[in-house]
Amino acid sequence: MANPIPRPLVDAFYKAYAARDANKVAEFLDDNVTWTISGPVDVMPFCGTRHGKAAVIDLIVRLVPEVFRVFSFIAESIVVDGDRAATLSRLSATRNGDGRVISYRLAHFLRFRDGKVIENLSLIDSFDAAEQVLGHRLALHEDRLADMDNLVAV
């Protein structure tokens, strides 16, 4: 059976991550960590899968801050079971460029090995997040080119 992760370790990792303290976060990452954020890469370039500690630290210190600056990261629930932890949080940030505040919920599903994070999956309400990052409502209709039915002879 996998080694259970102590809750104080999960809490310490979460505290470092919430503060975006890259040095402290690095102490909790396995060299071969896999980190996935589910969402549209063309709107939020930090989405997708990163492999390795350096790539995850780059994500935290450069890729995310290029889109917005996180100023609040509050845990609503932290569930710890065996070698896994799940957190439900609310992230608040200011958009780069215009300083507009954005805020959305996100979940982390983490797996630990020997006291280090070896895997993370982040799920976010990505439709809501994308609208806030873009700064406007998403058009729900399908874009299409003009065809014979669209043309009117004047």
């Binding site: 569930v79 079971d81 896994r84 799940a86 996100l106 599903f109 994308a130 409502r137 874009d143």
Partner: protein, 154 residues
């Protein structure tokens, strides 16, 4: 001491929920359960917060199937910690209108009391889910009416 939900109760609830067995699910719901699905209600009308057992059973038994019929709900992780539960699942379904298959990850954060579910928050990659429900990619620009600069005199 705070209530600890037995894993056997969580797993029995999960089986009933995965099978969308409304009669069995009902046995696990508190009369005052609160059930929230995060996402845009103009595309997925079942999103939002639903209060009370009857409303949640209506959600599962009628509102969701009006949009999609779930045929697979596979668990990646079920974490149990005191009275809190976190689940990560992959949901596969057919769109009701054209039976096209859609599939997305879903996170559930739950709170149990006395063997009953009193609160659930569902988080999903809603941008991806919306595109699949609509059946086309979302356009990222803002929808806007025609303006003078768009008109061409022929």
């Amino acid at each position: 001491m705070a209530y600890v939900v037995p894993r056997s109760v969580v797993e029995a609830f999960y089986r009933a929920y995965a099978a969308r067995n409304v009669g069995r699910i009902s046995e696990f719901l508190d009369d005052d359960v609160e059930w929230t699905i995060s996402g845009p209600i103009d595309v997925m009308p079942f999103c939002g917060t639903h209060y009370g057992k009857a409303a949640v059973l209506d959600l599962i038994g009628r509102q969701v199937p009006e949009v999609l019929k779930t045929f697979s709900f596979v668990s990646d992780a079920i974490l149990v910690d005191g009275d809190r539960v976190a689940m990560l699942n992959r949901q596969s379904a057919r769109r009701t209108d054209d039976r096209r298959v859609i599939s997305f990850r879903v996170a559930n954060f739950m709170h149990f009391r006395d063997g009953k579910l009193i609160e659930n928050l569902t988080l999903l990659d809603s941008f991806d889910a919306v595109e699949q429900v609509l059946g086309h990619p979302l356009t990222l620009h803002e929808g806007r009416p025609l303006e003078q600069g768009d008109l061409v005199a022929l």
